[in-house]
C-alpha cells in the first residue's frame, strides 16, 4: 500500500501544513512504510475477535461535577503569540 504524493498534499492541507516538494516526497515514503506495518497487522486472522474500542480494558472513569477556579488570564495567555486585552489575537478569520 502506498501513500501517494497527492494524499500527502491533501492531508497536509487539512492539517494546515505547508510542505515543500522534497518534504512531500519524503513524507510519502515514510507514510508508505508506516502503512506497510498495518498491512502486516491486517494479515492476522481476527475472525471471532470482538473489536476493541480502546487500548486499555478500563471503563467508566468519571469525575464529579465540581468547578474549580480557572487559570488567571495572564497565565492562560502566556504562550499566545499575540494578545489583545485578555483575548488571544489571531490573523483575521474570513468566513
Amino acid at each position: 500500500m502506498t501513500f501517494t504524493r497527492e494524499q500527502v498534499a491533501k492531508v497536509a492541507d487539512l492539517a494546515r501544513l505547508h510542505l515543500s516538494e522534497t518534504e512531500i516526497d519524503s513524507m510519502s515514503r515514510q507514510l508508505t512504510s508506516i502503512l506497510e506495518f498495518f498491512d502486516q497487522l491486517q494479515a492476522i486472522d481476527t475472525t471471532g475477535v470482538e473489536p476493541m474500542a480502546h487500548g486499555v480494558a478500563i471503563e467508566n472513569v468519571f469525575r464529579d461535577d465540581e468547578k474549580h477556579p480557572g487559570l488567571p488570564p495572564d497565565e492562560a495567555l502566556a504562550n499566545a503569540p499575540k494578545r489583545a486585552g485578555d483575548f488571544f489575537a489571531v490573523p483575521p478569520i474570513l468566513d
Binding site: H54, D64, A84, A89, V90, P92, I93
Partner: protein, 488 residues
C-alpha cells in the same frame, strides 16, 4: 399563503448546552457572560500532556434527554476525535462521538394547527463546544475567547421529517420546553445554549415527475423565528435556482449558507469539509462508557412523568378539555406545577384551569421556569377564587380589579376587596329596595320587557348593578328582578 409547486424537506441539527457546574472534561466553570479567558484551564486551552476526565453529571443529563426523546440508549458508548483547524478549537480536534453515540432512534411528536407530525431522530451524541471568535469588521485581528471551549453539548439530529417552517418552529419550541422541564438545559438561544442548523431542500413535482434539489445546510440561526424565516426563504431560493439550472440532488455538492437577518436572505459560506476530512478516530485519552441498568433506572426516575402522560392525566382523570390540558402542559412544567398547586388548595380542576390560562398566564411576563415565576402565589389565588365561589366577590371584579391589585401590591385578596369596597352585598332586602326604585324609574323599559323585548331585562339588571356600585351578586339580582316582573 401562496401555494408552491413543491414540498419542503427539513432536517434539524440542534445543539443543546447541558446545565452542569463544570465543563465536559475539566473543572472550569460554565457561567455565561464571564470576562474573556477566565473559565479556562490547561485542558480547555489544549496544552500538551493534559488528560481529559469525563463529567459524570453531563453523561446523566445527556441520558435523561435521550430517554425523554424516546431514544434507544446504548449500553456501550465511546469518544472520538474530530479534526479540523479553526482558531476557536485549541487542540485542533473536538472530542465528540462518531460511530457509537450514546442515544439513537428517538422521536418527538410535533403539533401544528391540530395536526401531529412524528419527527424521528437519527441520533443524540455528546460533544464538547468550541471557543468563540470575534471578528473585526475593519480587517484587524480576530479575537478568541476560550471560555466556551469544552462546555458540554448534546447534538440532536433529526431525520428530514419536517415539512414546513411552522413545523420546524414547533419542533424547536417543543424540544426547548422538554429540555427546560427536565433541567437538562436552559436553552437560551441568544446565549447560545440552544443552537440550530437546518438542512433544507425541496421536492418539486412537475408533469408527474419529482425533482429533489441539492441539500443546503443553513447556519447562523439565532432564534426560532430566524429558523422559520430562513427555511421559507431558502425553499423559494432553491425553487428559483432549480428553474435556472435544473440541478437535482447529487449534481451539486452539499452547500453551507448563512442566514443574513438584516437582509432576510441566506448567503454562501465556506465549503464544509467532507466527513472523511474530519479524520475521526477513537479518543485514546478517554476510556469507553458502559451504561448499566442501575444507572438507567435511576435516571428514568429523575425523568418522572412525561408531558404526554401529564396531558393524558389532565384530560382523562381531571376532565379538562384537550385544549386546556395542552396549554397547561406545553407552557412548561412551571405552569403545570402551578395548576397542580392551585388544585391542592381545594379548587376544582376546571376552575383552576380557567384561572391559570385566562388570568395568571396573561399577567405573567418573561420566562416561566418554576411556578413561582408566575405572577401570584397559588395559595393567594386560591383565596381569591374562594371569595368568588362564596358569592362574596363578583367574578368580573375579581379578574379585572382584585387580581391586578394583588399582583402590583402583593397584598392578599380579602384586604384588597375591603380597601376597594368590592364586597358583594347578599342582603335580599337591600337588593329588593333598589330593584323597586329601578322598576319605578324605568317604567318604559319595563313596558318594553312586558311587550316581549327580552333584551330589556339586561338594561334593568345593568341599572341595578350600577346603583349597587357592583356590590350585588348578579345572579341574585337577576332572580329578584325576574320575580318582581312576574317571570318564572
Amino acid at each position: 399563503m401562496a401555494t408552491h409547486p413543491f414540498e419542503i424537506i427539513v432536517g434539524l441539527e440542534v445543539h443543546v448546552q447541558l446545565l452542569t457546574e463544570s465543563k465536559l472534561f475539566c473543572s472550569d466553570g460554565t457561567k455565561f457572560g464571564q470576562p474573556p479567558n477566565t473559565l479556562v484551564s490547561p485542558i480547555s486551552i489544549g496544552m500538551p500532556g493534559v488528560l481529559p476526565v469525563m463529567n459524570r453529571r453531563a453523561l446523566e443529563l445527556a441520558i435523561k434527554a435521550g430517554l425523554a426523546l424516546q431514544c434507544q440508549i446504548a449500553r456501550f458508548t465511546k469518544w472520538d476525535r474530530k479534526h479540523y483547524y479553526y482558531p476557536d478549537l485549541p487542540k485542533n480536534y473536538q472530542i465528540s462521538q462518531y460511530d457509537m453515540p450514546f442515544a439513537t432512534e428517538g422521536y418527538l411528536d410535533v403539533d401544528v394547527e391540530g395536526k401531529t407530525t412524528k419527527v424521528r431522530l437519527i441520533r443524540v451524541h455528546l460533544e464538547e463546544d468550541a471557543g468563540k471568535n470575534l471578528h473585526d469588521d475593519h480587517g484587524g485581528d480576530s479575537l478568541v475567547d476560550l471560555n466556551r471551549a469544552g462546555m458540554p453539548l448534546i447534538e440532536i439530529v433529526s431525520y428530514p421529517d419536517i415539512r414546513s417552517a411552522a413545523e420546524a418552529g414547533a419542533y424547536l419550541e417543543k424540544l426547548r420546553t422538554l429540555m427546560r422541564d427536565l433541567d437538562v438545559s436552559d436553552c437560551e438561544m441568544q446565549e447560545g445554549s440552544l443552537r440550530c442548523d437546518a438542512n433544507v431542500n425541496i421536492a418539486i413535482t412537475k408533469e408527474g415527475k419529482t425533482y429533489k434539489t441539492p441539500i443546503v445546510e443553513v447556519k447562523n440561526l439565532n432564534s426560532i423565528k430566524m429558523v422559520e424565516k430562513s427555511i421559507t426563504y431558502e425553499a423559494g431560493r432553491q425553487y428559483d435556482q432549480w428553474e435556472k439550472d435544473g440541478k437535482v440532488i447529487g449534481q451539486a455538492p452539499k452547500q453551507t449558507r448563512g442566514w443574513d437577518e438584516a437582509r432576510g436572505v441566506t448567503r454562501p459560506q465556506r465549503e464544509k469539509e467532507e466527513e472523511a476530512d474530519y479524520r475521526y478516530f477513537p479518543e485514546p485519552d478517554l476510556v469507553p462508557v458502559v451504561i448499566t441498568e442501575e444507572m438507567l433506572a435511576r435516571i428514568k426516575g429523575e425523568v418522572g412523568e412525561s408531558s404526554q402522560q401529564r396531558k393524558d392525566r389532565y384530560r382523562d382523570q381531571l376532565g379538562l378539555s384537550e385544549y386546556n390540558a395542552s396549554v397547561l402542559v406545553d407552557k412548561g412544567r412551571g405552569v403545570a406545577d402551578y395548576f397542580d398547586a392551585l388544585m391542592s388548595h381545594d379548587i376544582d380542576a376546571k376552575t383552576a384551569a380557567n384561572w391559570v390560562i385566562n388570568d395568571v398566564l396573561a399577567h405573567s411576563t418573561g420566562r416561566i421556569k418554576v411556578m413561582h415565576d408566575l405572577a401570584v402565589e397559588p395559595s393567594s389565588l386560591a383565596e381569591l377564587i374562594k371569595l368568588v365561589k362564596g358569592n362574596k366577590l363578583n367574578l368580573n371584579d375579581a379578574r379585572e380589579r382584585v387580581l391586578r391589585e394583588m399582583i402590583s401590591t402583593g397584598k392578599d385578596a380579602s384586604t384588597i376587596v375591603q380597601e376597594l369596597g368590592l364586597e358583594v352585598v347578599v342582603d335580599t332586602a337591600a337588593i329588593e329596595a333598589i330593584v323597586d326604585t329601578v322598576l319605578a324609574d324605568m317604567s318604559k323599559v319595563v313596558d318594553d320587557f312586558r311587550s316581549g323585548k327580552g333584551k330589556a331585562l339586561g338594561a334593568l339588571v345593568g341599572q341595578v348593578m350600577k346603583r349597587s356600585q357592583g356590590k350585588f351578586p348578579p345572579a341574585l339580582v337577576n332572580e329578584i328582578l325576574n320575580k318582581k316582573l312576574g317571570v318564572s
